[in-house]
């Protein structure tokens, strides 16, 4: 192992330690709740407080939210699905209680915007890069060539040594 690659071995060990720590943490953090409570919390996380701004139902302490949490458990016990329960609250309080924006109707404009923005930036970027090749004019002063030229030289030498 060369002196250049030796630090990478250390990074590799660190990465593995990190991954192992992550997994240990994940296993330790496995949920302790009975399935219905897990389902209830999962539904609460898909709903927002009707009286707050952008506050998830599961972490809201308002009376109206406590009532909603109770209703979720009652309906789950009665056999309702998550979609049924979310729809129930949407009908009661309006679509703003949904944390996840439905991909339908007028909302598709937003998803269209996202796609258009990414495509537009990509296309404009590609055009721009290509046009740089075509429109470029040679100039004597093209910025400062290399304030790290010393390092480029050293890197080249190191690459040659590695090879």
């Amino acid at each position: 192992m060369t002196s250049v690659t030796r630090p990478f071995a250390l990074v590799g060990v660190a990465v593995l330690a990190l991954a192992a720590g992550l997994l240990t943490s994940i296993q330790g953090a496995s949920a302790q709740l009975p399935p219905t409570e897990e389902q209830a919390i999962a539904i609460e996380r898909q709903l927002l407080c009707p009286q707050c701004t952008n506050k998830r139902l599961d972490v809201c302490e308002l009376a109206i939210c406590r009532d909603m949490k109770q209703i979720i458990r009652e309906r789950l016990a009665a056999g309702a699905t998550a979609d049924d329960i979310i729809l129930f609250f949407e009908v009661r309080y309006g679509p703003q209680v949904r944390a996840e924006l439905p991909r339908e109707g007028f909302n598709l404009w937003l998803f269209g915007w996202v796609g258009s923005a990414i495509v537009a930036v990509g296309v404009a970027g590609a055009w721009f890069l290509l046009s740089l090749r075509q429109r470029a004019r040679p100039a004597a002063a093209a910025g400062t060539p290399a304030d790290d030229a010393w390092l480029d030289e050293e890197l080249r030498a190191a690459d040659e040594r590695d090879a």
């Binding site: 990465v15 007028f106 909302n107 470029a136």
Partner: protein, 668 residues
């Protein structure tokens, strides 16, 4: 007559006059070539900054002396508030925050006039005129729409006090950083505008803008980190970033500013991206003004609250003016913007930097769309909707992952074009490390594609950055015979800009790992328990001992109710946590959470109380947040890297501007 209010209001009015003078004198000086007029413009900016300082001191004095005749003081302060919390009162509420915004901006302007304007003879008049115009618009809002020195119709006995959510030590540092970061975008904007107006579109403005942009980037980043930390420790929802419209407004200007810091390197070294760099600084300032408008107008919460806002429509016009003026200037100068050298290859450092700036701008557009979409839904359909975290996580998450990999690739690829053989060798070790990390994660059970890709991108950055540090350290060690640690430290002295920048990337990678782990693998438990009962969370046993009350007797806090929770593992007591709720005398309907966190490097145990009944049956929520500490550690590394990168701006490379203004004005 209230002397403090009169002094403050007079200072604001005179500052407004000074800013108008700065604008007028610069225009006159530019056209007439009058040296006296140009100097008068600069001095008017300095005078306005001094007068705004008088105004902010007057407001601070009014807060400290409980001058409740001033309506703003009565609305955000009370007599029993601690003096240090009155610092937070200074910039809370619309008038106070707008005064702080404008004062902070004037400080930047004054520093810019003293440090940089004398060096930019090619565009000093345009720059000072731009400063004057911007300052005038904000002072008009301050004087006519949201003056902090308006008197109450009747002087109340005591003030209402600070909004309960703001009664927290975090509020002493988070808003000043964030507001200062937002206003600091005005300086790169001014330099870009001056370059456009003067027609001096080469590297001159870029050289001066770099330091200011880096300062803006750094302060804005720290403001956002502190905001996340405050949200995590105060709001009591287990997270640090909720994609709230106000949070989005704070991060939006940071994206084009970050893109600018990368793109300017390409213009400096390769003479490319003249148009793009101008677009980025203009966009950063426009988004900062948009953020100010968004926070103050209530627009995104509801178009109805926007209609009731006095200052909202004014800022909307201001955002429109900034955008229109920027577009007009760019279109006017477009024919002059051509690259000076040929773009040689898509496999080059400049291509990597350019692509990364595109990803950053795509992110900004997506976040802007998601933030504003509820407004369009309500306006067009009369349907109120919420665009919440699931949407932003779904669309921004993949872009962040692309950015991580592009950052890693861009670090490895050389300028101009890469020789295939040498490039391949540079990728071998980082690529192998990435592969090992992914296999290890998969073997250990990580299956979530977002987690694998996010952590993979972060590992790629760490690997290539380690290679860069190792190669540089080895080079210096060989050249100077230094020790390994000595050579590593000398790297930052040799080229703080480059190696400080790499440290910022390391911070980003560390934060990315923390974000992925805490987003994908957060666990949540809710327990409704009586005193003596226990529940399990994250492998720990939480024993709820009982509720207790305490009365701090300050800052408007009436009483705090806390649940004493004993944390045990394998029958052994690990410690105690006391989550609870804090009640305020003047805001009985607005209690706030007291969050209790037991932190470690691998996980945070995060508890808060949601309620209790007369029998002390108490509802406690427990989150286990993996690796969250690394978010703050990564933030610290990021900030340290930014500070190191700032070093050349201060001392190592003094900027020399050699030429005179092209448009007729004599150098001043």
């Amino acid at each position: 007559m209230n002397v403090t209010a009169t002094l403050g209001a007079a200072a604001l009015l005179t500052a407004l006059a000074c800013s108008v003078v700065a604008l007028g004198a610069s225009i006159y000086g530019q056209h007439s070539g009058s040296r006296a007029a140009l100097l008068a413009g600069r001095r008017a900016i300095l005078a306005a900054a001094a007068l705004l300082s008088v105004a902010i001191v007057a407001l601070g004095y009014a807060l400290l002396t409980n001058d409740f005749a001033i309506a703003h003081v009565a609305s955000v302060s009370s007599s029993e508030m601690q003096a240090r919390m009155k610092w937070a009162s200074l910039y809370s509420g619309q008038p106070g925050s707008l005064l702080f915004w404008t004062w902070s901006m004037s400080m930047f302007m004054a520093a810019f006039v003293l440090i940089t304007v004398p060096k930019i003879s090619w565009g000093s008049a345009h720059a000072v005129g731009t400063l004057g115009a911007v300052l005038t618009t904000f002072l008009i809002a301050l004087v006519f729409f949201a003056s902090p020195f308006r008197l109450s119709p009747v002087r109340p006995e005591d003030g209402t006090g600070l909004n309960p959510l703001l009664v927290d030590p975090g509020m002493l540092i988070h808003p000043p950083f964030l507001l200062t970061g937002l206003v600091s975008t005005v300086i790169p904007f001014t330099l870009g505008a001056a370059a456009l107006m003067s027609g001096r579109l080469d590297q001159a403005w870029i050289r001066h803008a770099r330091g200011w942009a880096l300062a803006s980037f750094l302060v804005l980043s720290i403001g956002n980190f502190l905001g996340g930390w405050w949200a995590y420790t105060v709001l009591g929802w287990g997270g640090y970033w909720g994609w709230d419209p106000v949070e989005n407004s704070a991060i939006l200007p940071l994206l084009p500013m970050t893109a600018f810091l990368h793109a300017l390197v390409v213009q400096e070294r390769r003479g490319m991206l003249k148009l793009w760099n101008l677009v980025l600084v203009l966009a950063a300032f426009a988004l900062a003004v948009f953020g100010t408008f968004n926070v103050r107008s209530g627009l995104v919460a509801s178009v109805h609250s926007f209609a009731q806002s006095e200052v909202g429509p004014y800022f909307l016009v201001l955002v429109g003016l900034v955008v229109v003026a920027s577009v007009v200037l760019i279109v006017w100068r477009l024919p002059r913007m051509h690259a000076e050298v040929e773009f040689e290859s898509l496999v080059s450092r400049e291509a990597g930097l350019i692509l990364n700036t595109y990803v950053l701008i795509a992110m900004a557009l997506v976040i802007l769309g998601g933030t504003l979409f509820p407004v369009f839904s309500e306006l067009i359909q009369d349907v109120r909707i919420t665009v919440g975290p699931p949407f932003f996580n779904d669309v921004v998450g993949p872009l962040l992952i692309v950015m991580l990999f592009l950052t890693a690739i861009g670090t490895v690829v050389p300028w101009r074009k890469a020789a295939p053989g040498a490039l391949g060798r540079r990728f071998i070790v980082p690529g192998a490390l990435l592969l090992v990390a992914l296999v290890a994660l998969a073997v250990l059970g990580v299956r979530d594609p977002f987690a694998l890709a996010g952590i993979g991108g972060a590992v790629a950055i760490l690997a290539v950055t380690a290679r860069e540090y190792a190669a540089g350290t080895l080079a210096l060690r060989n050249a100077r015979g230094m020790s390994w640690p000595g050579a590593f430290g000398a790297l930052f002295n040799r080229d703080p800009r480059k190696y400080g920048g790499y440290l910022v990337h390391v911070g980003v990678a560390v934060m990315a790992i923390a974000v992925v782990a805490s987003t994908v693998y957060q666990s949540q438990t809710r327990a409704i328990v009586s005193p003596g009962e226990s529940f399990e969370a994250g492998g720990y046993t939480m024993v709820f001992e009982d509720l207790a009350t305490r009365s701090p007797g300050m800052n408007g806090i009436d009483v705090e109710v806390v649940a004493r929770v004993r944390v045990e593992r394998d029958g052994k007591v690990e410690g105690y946590l006391e989550p609870g709720r804090r009640f305020f005398a003047n805001f009985p309907e607005q209690p706030v959470a007291i969050v209790a966190v037991d932190g470690s490097l691998t996980r945070d145990l995060y508890l808060f109380v949601q309620g209790w009944d007369a029998e002390r049956l108490t509802e406690i929520q427990a989150f286990v947040n993996p690796f969250i500490a690394w978010l703050w550690i990564g933030g610290g590394i990021y900030a340290a890297g930014g500070l190191l990168a700032f070093a050349p701006f201060r001392a190592r490379r003094p900027v020399v501007v050699e030429d005179a203004a092209p448009t007729g004005a004599r150098p001043v």
